[in-house]
Symmetry: D2
Subunit: 345 residues, 4 copies
Amino acid sequence: MSGSGKLPAIASDAVLKQSVPVPEDFEKVQGMDFSQDYAYNSRATDLIASMRTMGFQASSVASACEIINEMNSWRGKHKGELPEHEQTGEFDDEDRQKATVFMGFTSNLISSGLRDTLRYLVQHKKVSAIVASAGGIEEDLIKCLAPTYLGDFALPGKTLRDQGLNRIGNLLVPNDNYCKFEEWIVPVLDKMLEEQETEMAKLGKEGLNADSAAIWTPSKLIDRLGKEINDESSVLYWAHKNKIPIFCPAITDGSIGDMLFFHTFKASPQQLRLDIVADIRKINSMSMEASRAGQEFDGSDAGARPDEAVSWGKIKAEAKSVKVYADVTVVWPLIVAATFAAQRP
Amino acid sequence: MSGSGKLPAIASDAVLKQSVPVPEDFEKVQGMDFSQDYAYNSRATDLIASMRTMGFQASSVASACEIINEMNSWRGKHKGELPEHEQTGEFDDEDRQKATVFMGFTSNLISSGLRDTLRYLVQHKKVSAIVASAGGIEEDLIKCLAPTYLGDFALPGKTLRDQGLNRIGNLLVPNDNYCKFEEWIVPVLDKMLEEQETEMAKLGKEGLNADSAAIWTPSKLIDRLGKEINDESSVLYWAHKNKIPIFCPAITDGSIGDMLFFHTFKASPQQLRLDIVADIRKINSMSMEASRAGQEFDGSDAGARPDEAVSWGKIKAEAKSVKVYADVTVVWPLIVAATFAAQRP
Amino acid sequence: MSGSGKLPAIASDAVLKQSVPVPEDFEKVQGMDFSQDYAYNSRATDLIASMRTMGFQASSVASACEIINEMNSWRGKHKGELPEHEQTGEFDDEDRQKATVFMGFTSNLISSGLRDTLRYLVQHKKVSAIVASAGGIEEDLIKCLAPTYLGDFALPGKTLRDQGLNRIGNLLVPNDNYCKFEEWIVPVLDKMLEEQETEMAKLGKEGLNADSAAIWTPSKLIDRLGKEINDESSVLYWAHKNKIPIFCPAITDGSIGDMLFFHTFKASPQQLRLDIVADIRKINSMSMEASRAGQEFDGSDAGARPDEAVSWGKIKAEAKSVKVYADVTVVWPLIVAATFAAQRP
Amino acid sequence: MSGSGKLPAIASDAVLKQSVPVPEDFEKVQGMDFSQDYAYNSRATDLIASMRTMGFQASSVASACEIINEMNSWRGKHKGELPEHEQTGEFDDEDRQKATVFMGFTSNLISSGLRDTLRYLVQHKKVSAIVASAGGIEEDLIKCLAPTYLGDFALPGKTLRDQGLNRIGNLLVPNDNYCKFEEWIVPVLDKMLEEQETEMAKLGKEGLNADSAAIWTPSKLIDRLGKEINDESSVLYWAHKNKIPIFCPAITDGSIGDMLFFHTFKASPQQLRLDIVADIRKINSMSMEASRAGQEFDGSDAGARPDEAVSWGKIKAEAKSVKVYADVTVVWPLIVAATFAAQRP
């Protein structure tokens, strides 16, 4: 740099490129005005309404709410107007087509207090089908047998191990809960095996055929567990009650897997079987028979952005979708309060 | 694996370690019950109350609200009870000691709709001092001259460049806004230089001494900008009005830096100076004179967890602190609604 | 702040707490000295050696290499010294016990160039068993039929959809590859169904018993696919050759799931079945029969830190483990080059 | 789902869209073949070469190396061919124009073993200018006075606080190091103040003018610290030796800030001043006078992707840039080994 007062000639190139005129429909960024009466201790719908024009993830959360509200309010034709082979998918109480809604949840959502929110959605038939991880299934059942506790993210693993406590994020589950779960589930597995063998005795070599009553699948197992647990705090219980299937192909990937493993030794030479082909047929059929392509929402992050899913045709190019980057426990209660649960019950 | 029905002997070791009895004060994980009347379209304080026992980041957000509420309600001694040299820090309207509150914000918070929330906090004197990034300062001023617009995270850089639009996440700022800013700020810098030189003429070789009126600092510049902008939508305006200092040592790290750069050529051989030593003295003094160690909250992530800050003594070992992992636009409006703005205005 | 020159009395409290004497075995942070001859264009083992004392994730990568090297070099008793019921797990060429090594991989590892590295490990029997995601299985096969291409993270979903290209991160897979895959797999599924039915005809109502030859499982399906693909670039091929089982309970969670779905219509009223109970028995047995608890490494992030896994007993409290936070494509080739592939072949 | 064997008619729509023919220049994804002789214990350039076609972040790392190599090998005109006012920027030993290289680093890079790598680059004049955070400056100096140690990410803050140890990720710095730093720096600040006052006595009311010898700036302070530390392990030392300016507008944002704060009480009524306007003039001038737009690389993540920076014109639309998502300690040694340090010294 020279000490002179002359601006280097090159700087004249550095002037800013003039902007094009801003289109009239461009929306201005604006936030909540907490000086206003409606804003103090705001209601969910007011928070969401103001988040729409806030930008960043706030806008994404507001978009998610819009998509959910559209999905919930969509109605198609009356059943009577449809030829018989198109009378598939979901209908409302007045026999009008509505969207088939898929919901996904992972173990940690059930471990957290979001279980109550998910249970609410299933109890009130806000969803048509569920895809869950193995942990999500077993934690829902275990919570009926004994509670999960608040802990801390930083509790050291070795100390907890010595105390027989398992940590999930900042939550704690005592080992005894798993012992109670084992005691509870073994008789159910015994009964299931018995039913399997009874049906096989009837069907013989046709035991594997389509719609064979001898064949258990993960979704059929989960439905049975929901029936047996018979507890109104349970997601599985309400799914059973309301005939909402819960799919979980990797059901063996957790505590239930260990129970099934131990059960093979108890049952030998007989063996309980869980077939995953029948379940893929069932879920794909639901998806294809939906009168409106089921819009899915879940609480996990498979890492890809919606745009990648569009390239795969997993999300239709014209479908509305949004990915919210946030811990689900932080945004989900707010979203539910402003959508599914926005009206006085 | 053998086909035999015998469980390998080794499996007997795999039994679960028995849990210690769970202490009585352990709190159960529980969520919001949307079947209840209070829960529909929930208010911020109800959402936060239920998040306390939800686990994961929901619990962290609830803890953050508790800490803020404690900080806001804390009161110490009456001014009259204190020896003169201890009559420092913040006092409420009845002359009782209250906490000195530091708030930090970065550029993107101001670019988003959170600016309105931050402005509310400064307007209503909820904070004692602010630490901001350069972008935070200039975006607040620019928004008084022309709006920022909602865009999309995926708009391609080159196209926007050709249109003279700048992207910040999913927000858009036209280049013209920066031209307007330049037009606005140059006369202010001229006046500042004039004042600097007038004072230097008086002080001569003592011009650099402590409390010299010739010396501009970033916080003094920002206070002047707040005065000059004279716009009630501005955080800087209210900070000036309410004598809340805004510190920004790296004020040259953005658009204002470019303006100062161009100004050196215009002003030569004179040159405006910005001293950062006086500002570090001012902020450290505020921190030391606080009657209650200022609890800080900010919207950026310096990457370290509070526990690392405790090792440094940056957070007192006994101080309450919590780090919330979430996009600030998603949680901050909810937190403010449930704390600072929980009461009808 | 007063303008006086006096340091507030309170500042005397702010002095730093004196450190305890640093224990002699504390190791100093130190990096690579690129001025040295050994360092230019460094070899993997030299890079890793220097990373050990660099701190942050560099130290974690170096720890990962140490754990792998220990795992690989560990040898237990000679088979002849063991009672018959303890002659389980893995043995080296000289009949000495060695560690049972579990490796996990997800779809994107196979889509990327890491497939060649994984194939190398399986081809040279560096692992004992594999746990994979559905995508990992099918991408390995599809790559034998047609290549995957380099693309860009930012290619827009809708354009790609119109071109029949699928994006995985910055990789591209043409739809035609999936068509080729369908053509290839349908005859295999036909054969499998035929074999299932042949065995059922023999076994009748005992068709579901333990070790029934009528029962296909995901690992048995994958082994057959490895045999049929008969291609030396394939991970599945070498797993079949070297009798290394690949487990994938959620095998239906992808393209193979669609193929199985369509196949149910073709096969009706017969139906291919895939049982997941036999597979959980097989993998748990391998784990329990290991002479040295199998140390697992995988390329995905289930989100939890090792310390959480210790609380669950999933990692033994005394076991060595480390979690490396980095895109696996960035660190895995370096790790393999410095461990499994450190010696001239 | 019906049990019938008929595929729902709707499924015929679900066929895959045919792909467009893949352009000939599409590159196939391919990894390292560890069966080959060149691959065992691979050299950095071989690893990088194979990473180019691996996809994901591996490809990004390889791109980063290509950009660095291009930047290093670029040569423009001979000085003799240029009119005088264009004889700015950097020239090689044969007076040919070369790129002006800006490097950024944050505190944690210096705390880690990457300091040795950064020192190597500065010592061998591989960079033209540096932008650093306050911590980066002081940790470089402190490491000359006492070592930083390897610790663990999970060491609890309170225990460390009681032992007088500060944690930075998995590194430990004893408090005594900071005491040593204070002892070392105070006499330097005294000397600087003395020089400031001597010059002010000469210049009087013109003391703030452009190029005033009375004015200290952060970069001038840092240069002096590099001279005074006089230690070949130091980045600052080599920057001073090689006249490579180090910019750090927020120099008061750390331990040096505390030292300057305490110094104001010692010095009163005189006061050391640090002006940031002169530094913004200096760095902007370097950038504008560069014969080839300085390509910047740094080790921190300001959160934005290059495409956002392109919209701002911070990266020229036609400039090559890549953002690598990885802990810098994991990739930087590999990148340096394959680029700056690829040739035997």
